[in-house]
């Protein structure tokens, strides 16, 4: 599934948050969205999955205008791992994964064996089958993230959006989650905090600054201009290593 954003602008309470965003995510590729805090990454993602309405511009999936789709139809094409957890209520892991079947269901349709099968497969793909009966709130951060990815898989969408999926995870689990997501082979757009991760995992990196997509690659010059720091030593190190490799 090919995602194209053309001149997308988003305004919240009269304040322009995203001014002009153009980007393309090619089918089967992993694109990363990086940028300083408050640059509009989350807002842009939320607009793509229609939690927000764009003030201008066009978002299309395989040349289909997103605004012409119903919410249910959008959800069958786009799955999301947002920075949001079920609050207070005691859902089991299987309850949470089953939520992924929502866009495939009508109010009166029953949960079928096929739904359960899809959910079981999804849990297996994220290596979390053993957690099925656990209460979601008792899971560790890394386990929660795996389960939310399983929910997205159960949704059977071909585009996956992730909003800072490595937040609050230790380094090992950060890498775990990113490896997992990349190996799924879905068309993926992820807002990432860590530039090293973006460099290591993404096929393409879009850089946002004050509501604009200002670059589609991450160079030391871009880092200096956007983040206001000279390419930090670790990033520099990755650069050099990448250069050596090529």
């Amino acid at each position: 599934m090919r995602l194209v954003l053309d001149g997308v602008a988003v305004t919240i309470d009269g304040t322009p948050i995203v001014r002009e965003a153009d980007l393309i995510v090619e089918p089967g590729s992993f694109a990363a969205l990086v940028g300083p805090n408050g640059c509009g990454k989350s807002t842009l993602l939320r607009t793509i999955y229609r939690a927000l309405r764009p003030a201008a511009g066009l978002i299309s999936l395989n040349d289909e205008d997103l605004r012409k789709l119903k919410h249910r139809e959008t959800a069958r094409r786009i799955a999301v791992v947002a920075q949001e957890y079920p609050a207070e209520l005691d859902f089991t892991v299987e309850d949470v994964v089953l939520m992924g079947r929502t866009p495939h269901k009508r109010p009166l349709s029953r949960t079928t064996g096929e739904d359960l099968q899809r959910c079981a497969e999804a849990l297996e793909r994220v290596s979390a089958t053993g957690l099925a009966r656990r209460s979601f709130v008792t899971l560790s951060g890394g386990e929660k993230q795996r389960v939310l990815i399983a929910r997205a898989l159960a949704q059977e969408s071909s585009l996956l959006l992730l909003d800072e999926p490595t937040n609050h995870l230790d380094i090992r689990h950060q890498l775990d989650v990113l490896h997992l997501v990349r190996d799924l082979g879905l068309t993926t757009l992820a807002a990432l905090h860590d530039l090293n991760h973006a460099l290591e995992f993404a096929d393409r990196i879009y850089v946002m600054d004050t509501g604009r997509v200002v670059a589609d690659e991450l160079t030391p010059e871009v880092i200096a201009r956007v983040f206001g720091v000279r390419a930090v030593s670790r990033t520099q190190y990755v650069f050099e290593r990448l250069k050596e490799e090529t």
Partner: protein
């Protein structure tokens, strides 16, 4: 069985739904039947079991039983106890399901059917009729005035809590609480000015909930509104689950959150208006029963909603039996009984959470 088949069946078995759900539903259905049977049999005036059921059978299938009871007994069982028992089931189920839905809708475990100020709107309407007299309000009946008050509250809460037609959950709660106190102030003032001790006492009793007004002729409206409302809410378990998981998550799962929230707001408010109008503001049921249901079957609304409906129906039936027998021939207001059970349960839940 091949290895692949075995693996597949294992995978599905991991996901086989809790078999306890069916058991819980069965037990609760039995509890509903049993409590209703008790409610029709027990009362201030003794009517033997055989007489009770003879009367009911003879009414349902005229001529099936030769009367061996007095007309007074027949009147008590058929005209008073049976409609009252049926209303208890309807209101108990209605309060509980609405409570469960509202807790998911505003994502707050403390939400209950009276959170949105609708009950105090209804109370204001009722107080106005009691104190000022029906004639001052154009001959409105108590129920009609209470329902009118509920509608007034509903519209005001909506106007205050929306922005660009979208309801904002935090504002919904704040607007509801603010209006609740405003309405309470107004009807308290009216009561105080009325200087009629009897009217005030009557109103107080009504405010605390009573099913004593149940008659056959007043049953159709609550039966239709609550029956249809509860049935409709029961099939909304998927969007409610999604919403409980988070607003953005719900959107990404294909729920049109704005439209759904508005729909649920109206579809919970109308039953609440009808319930307050027929039986006053019965507290704690809508708050407590959904939590008890979650303790039994987990948070998935596919299970919570039907379990809440049955549990609420059976619970309110037993509460009503207690209310009219404990201090017979005096009747206790229902909130007194629900609170006696509800407050300790809630404190226990609180400690369990901490």
């Amino acid at each position: 069985m091949t290895v692949a088949q075995k693996a597949a069946s294992q995978r599905v078995s991991v996901f086989r739904r809790r078999s306890t759900f069916g058991l819980v539903l069965g037990l609760l259905a039995a509890a509903v039947v049993f409590s209703t049977w008790l409610a029709v049999s027990i009362g201030a005036v003794q009517v033997g079991l055989a007489e009770c059921w003879g009367i009911v059978a003879n009414r349902l299938f005229p001529g099936s039983v030769t009367p061996f009871w007095t007309p007074v007994q027949e009147q008590i069982v058929w005209d008073f106890r049976l409609p009252r028992a049926l209303l208890a089931l309807l209101v108990g189920a209605g309060l509980s399901v609405v409570g469960a839905v509202l807790q998911a809708l505003v994502r707050n475990p403390l939400a209950d059917p009276f959170l949105l100020g609708i009950s105090s709107g209804a109370s204001l309407g009722a107080v106005a009729v009691f104190v000022l007299g029906a004639s001052a309000l154009g001959g409105l009946s108590l129920s009609a005035a209470a329902f009118g008050g509920a509608l007034l509250a509903l519209v005001l809460v909506y106007v205050l809590a929306q922005r660009g037609g979208r309801l904002i959950p935090s504002r919904l709660v704040l607007a509801g609480v603010a209006l609740h106190f405003l309405f309470q102030a107004i009807y308290s003032y009216i009561l105080q000015q009325a200087q009629s001790g009897r009217a005030a006492q009557q109103v107080l009793f009504w405010l605390l909930g009573s099913l004593g007004g149940a008659r056959w002729e007043m049953l159709p409206i609550p039966a239709i509104v609550l029956g249809a409302g509860v049935a409709y809410l029961l099939v909304q378990h998927r969007p409610l689950n999604a919403l409980a998981a988070g607003e953005d998550t719900a959107t990404s799962l294909g729920v049109n959150v704005g439209a759904f929230r508005l729909q649920m707001f109206v579809l919970t408010s109308l039953p609440v208006g009808v319930m307050v109008a027929t039986s006053g503001a019965i507290a704690f049921v809508g708050l407590m029963v959904p939590h008890a249901a979650r303790l039994l079957v987990g948070a998935d609304h596919r299970r919570v909603l039907p379990v809440s409906a049955l549990l609420g129906a059976a619970f309110l039936q037993l509460v009503d039996i207690a209310a009219r027998t404990v201090d017979a021939p005096q009747e206790l207001a229902l909130t007194i009984v629900t609170a006696v059970f509800g407050a300790p349960f809630f404190l226990w839940l609180l400690r369990r959470r901490a």
